[in-house]
Every structure is written in C-alpha cells, then in structure tokens.
C-alpha cells in the first residue's frame, strides 16, 4: 500500500477526495488527518453526512454500511478506519 508525503495510502487519498467532494467541504483532501475523528469534533460531520457518505461509498465501492454493524462506530471513527473497512468489504 503506497503512501506519499501526506501520510495517506492511495485508498485513503481516494476516500478523502470522495468525502470532500460528496460533502462539499471547503478543505483540501490531503489535509484530513487520517486518525482524526470524522464526526462531532474533528471534521464535524453529522448524521446527514453519514447518510450521504454511505450512499457515495455504496455507489463507488459496492459496500453497504449498516448502523446495526457492531463495528459501525469504529468504522466511522476516522478516515483510516473507514478506508480499511472499505478495502475489506468492497465489491467493486
């Protein structure tokens, strides 16, 4: 898994771009801290963002997030965790 100076792997970069584009955030994707929380503090995303993001992830990677997944909090905890879950569960 390649990493450049930003410290992000290629799937993390791709996901960071998807997040910024989908949620219209006014930040550079490379500025997302891979281990920082995405929701609440950190990027400050809310449950509507979670819904929008889940849709983008489902359409891009074929991975359908479920809030009944016992790991869901961990999956959404950071860019890195979310990228890992996508790599593990993607179908496209």
């Amino acid at each position: 898994m390649g990493q450049d100076q930003s410290g992000l792997s290629s799937i993390e970069q791709e996901l960071a771009e998807l997040i910024v584009r989908t949620l219209k955030l006014k930040i550079h994707p490379m500025s997302i801290e891979p281990e920082a929380p995405l929701f609440g503090e950190g990027l400050g995303l809310d449950s509507i963002d979670a819904l929008e993001l889940s849709l983008a992830i489902s359409q891009t990677y074929g991975y359908q997030l479920k809030s009944s997944d016992p790991e869901i909090k961990a999956i959404f905890s950071s860019l890195r965790a979310l990228a890992k879950a996508i790599e593990k569960n993607r179908t496209k």
Binding site: L25, A50, E52, S54, S58, S67
Partner: protein, 450 residues
C-alpha cells in the same frame, strides 16, 4: 373531563415493540411503565433523550402517569439542551442506558431484558384529554426556542385521523418503523402515537442507512409502515433497496417531488403518502404524492384564510395556528403549498430562519458582518446553507467553532466564505440579486477545485 386509555385496543400478549431484545408484549410494557414511573423524581418536566423508540415510549408514558410534561428537544447539541433546561428549571433528563449528560441531571431508562413475570391483569391507565403531555420547540423570531404545548387530546386526535386516512384499522398486524427521531413532532405523532393509538407494533431502532431500512423491513413479520423523510427515501432509491411488498411509506418534514415519489413507489412496491404539518399545529393534511399537488386536511382539521394569512383550525388546538408557508386554498378545503415564507429554510427537516442564523453569526466576537443564505440548484441529498462573513483577523475555522456552540450542526454553513465586505446597498440591505451574484462568483472561482 374526558379521558382515553394510554394505549389502544391491545390484548396483553400483543407485541407492542420489536427490535428491543426480545419482542415486548403489552403486559411487559405496562409493567415497564409502572416500574419506571415509581423511580421518576418529583419534577414538573422531563427531557426524554432516549434513542430507543421503545425506551422513549416507556419514559413518555411513565412521565404522563406522573403528570410530568415531556420536553422534545429539537437538537441533542449541548447548547440546545442547556437552553431548554434553563427555560424549564427543575427538569431532568431520561437517557438510554449508561448515557450521562453533563448539562442536566439524568436518569436512564432501565428495561429488564429478561421478560419478567408480569402480574396480570394489568390496568391500562386513562389520561385526561386536556392534560399537557409534551412540549415541542420551534425556533422563534429572536432565535429563542418557542415552546408548543401538546395535550393528550391533540396527540391522540392527530394519530386517529392519520391512521384513518391511511386506511389503518385497530389491531392491524402492522409494524411501524421510522428513520425520523421520535423527539421530532412528526416522529412522535407517526411513529409513537399512531401505533399505540391503533394497537400496532413499533420498531424500537432507528434505521439510518439504506441497508438498515432494508434489513428492518425484511425482519418485520407482518405488514410494515415506514415513517421517513425525502432525504432517506432518496438514499434508499439511489441504493436500490429491495423490501417486501405490501407496506406503506409515510414521508414528511420536507416536500417530496413527484418524481422521487414515483421512484419510491416502484422501489418499495408500495404507496407513498405524505404528511404536511409543522410543530405548532402537528400533522395537518395528507396526500398520495403521485396523485396530485393537493393536500387533503385530516378529518377534523380545517385550513382557513384570515386576511392574507392562512391558519389551521382543529377542535384540539387552543386557537387558529398560522401556517408558515405560502399556500392557496381550493373551494373544497384542500390546499396547495407554494413553499416556505421568505427567510424560513428547511435543512433535512429542520426549520430555521435565515435572519436568526445571521443574527447568531453577528454575535460572534470579531465578526463585523455576515449573512446566511440558501443557495439554489444544489445537488446531493440535502441542500446546505452557505454563509458569507466579514471578520478580518479571524479564520473560517475559528468562526465555525464559535458558531457550533450556538446553532444546530445541520445549519452550519457549507461552506463558510470569508469576504472583505458584503454587497449591501445604500440602505444597508442585502438585495437578493447581489447575494446570488456573490454565490455565483464564489462558485466560479471554486469550480473544479476539489
């Protein structure tokens, strides 16, 4: 004074809630309510923050039996809870297991997971129709939450009228599942009051993602009724959710387009109905979206013109309630809605005034000028607000951090744009065209930028 039963025509073994461990029977529910009612402190008002719809219901019912009023916070943000707690001194909070809030004394709703032996026959309490049981909050003109008191009579009348309009019969084998929070007025009416008034089952969890909606509706052993919003419907349609046929979709909080309604009817293989309402009056009217623009008032409800304004009248309302939208009335009493009045915005079902939001922005130290706007023609599931701010010496991040303490997160601007000045005219006003121009210029500059 007349009174009605706390819950509708159930038998003790009927299932009142699913998705909360093992299915809860009515007998268990009544025992859960009476145990909790014994534990509640002697306070006039309670903030019910329970995330489980069943635990919320147990807390709501226990509070009613103790003649306490349930406050329905429009947001779980700490500032909002503190605000309500300040306005209603002597309140405490009901929370889910293990959740402690800093803002307010909390008690958690403890439901015995193992079905406890229930002493029968359980007596269903009767509640006076004029008892105030809940307060829903709306944002006022000054930005302070305005309380709207709801009587037991109003909540049960709306539930009854909604059910009859949807063709629901008492003790139908229907499970109501909802993506909307039960602390929201529509959520309370359609996903809590509707099932308990008609003797239906409710699903305790709150599905968020399309895959959740699918698995909940697949698990329902009888017919389903999905209480939801255009936002969730759009996500479910986009994701191609497949569900068992024979259900019913009930959407509210924002208008559904005919196109989305048609797609949703196909996707859910069910009729899609909509409710028009607002916190001050509750649910007012219903329509099947693909059948036409006209809203049919619920039985017992009338929309009347008074001068240039429109008001809702119903026997259970204390007086005529002004409608916050522009509408036109048809001779048969039906009406067509033409959109929110200027300044009123709806973001993902949450209503606010742009003026209030801008006022909050201006209160932030270091902000010289600023305005919230709702951009046109946005794409995506939900249109977010933008804000333009003049604050030399402050960064956008700092302003956002300060704003977060004062407004609900759904209204946080996306993006917040720092500008040297706003295009105010000589009278100090911000003409709509100048604002649109500013948005267009900002977009041109940032187009293609990731």
């Amino acid at each position: 004074m007349r009174a009605t039963s706390l819950i509708g025509p159930y038998q003790p073994d009927d299932i009142i809630a699913r998705g909360q461990g093992t299915p809860r029977t009515v007998a268990q529910f009544l025992s859960d309510v009476s145990s909790l009612a014994d534990l509640l402190p002697d306070c006039p008002t309670v903030l019910n923050l329970a995330a489980s719809r069943y635990e919320f219901l147990v807390g709501f019912a226990a509070a009613i039996m103790r003649r306490q009023i349930t406050l329905l916070p429009y947001s779980r943000a700490p500032y909002a809870l503190r605000r309500i707690a300040d306005d209603f001194p002597g309140s405490y909070a009901l929370t889910d297991r293990d959740e402690q809030r800093e803002e307010i004394e909390s008690i958690s709703v403890q439901i015995q997971q193992a079905p406890s032996p229930v002493s029968l026959p359980a007596v269903v309490p009767r509640i006076p129709l004029d008892q105030v049981v809940a307060v829903a909050f709306t944002s006022g003109t000054t930005g302070n939450p305005v309380p709207n008191r709801k009587t037991w009579g109003a909540l049960t009348a709306v539930a009854r009228a909604t059910g009859s309009r949807l063709g629901i019969k008492e003790r139908d084998r229907v499970t109501v599942a909802a993506t909307v929070p039960h602390q929201h007025m529509f959520g309370l009416e359609a996903s809590v009051m509707l099932p308990i008034t008609y003797g239906l089952s409710m699903y305790a969890g709150r599905p968020l993602f399309p895959a959740d909606v699918r698995s909940v509706l697949m698990d329902v052993p009888d017919r389903w009724l999905l209480v939801t919003t255009p936002l969730h419907l759009r996500a479910c349609v986009a994701d191609g959710v497949a569900v068992p046929t024979g259900g019913l979709v009930l959407s509210a909080t924002a208008p559904l387009t005919v196109e989305l309604a048609r797609q949703a009817e196909r996707q859910f293989r069910s009729e899609v109905h909509e409710i028009f309402g607002f916190a001050e009056a509750g649910s007012v009217a219903e329509r099947r979206t693909i059948a036409g623009d006209e809203w049919k008032p619920l039985d017992g409800v009338r929309v009347d013109q008074e001068g240039t304004a429109y008001v809702v009248k119903a026997p259970y309302l204390p007086g005529p309630v002004p409608v916050p939208d522009h509408l036109s009335l048809l001779p048969n009493g039906d009406f067509v809605v033409h959109g929110r009045k200027a300044d009123q915005v709806n973001v993902a079902g949450y209503r606010a005034s742009l003026g209030d939001l801008s006022a909050k922005l201006l209160q932030i130290e270091g902000v010289h000028d600023g305005v919230f706007v709702l951009p046109d023609g946005e794409t995506g599931l939900v249109t977010r607000l933008m804000a333009f701010v003049v604050a030399p010496g402050k960064s956008g991040e700092e302003i956002l951090r300060d704003l977060r303490a004062h407004i609900d997160p759904v209204f946080l601007p996306r993006p917040l744009v720092c500008v040297p000045k706003l295009p105010r005219n000589e009278t100090g006003k911000l003409p709509r065209e100048a604002v649109e121009d500013m948005i267009r210029r900002w977009r041109e500059q940032h187009d293609g930028e990731v």
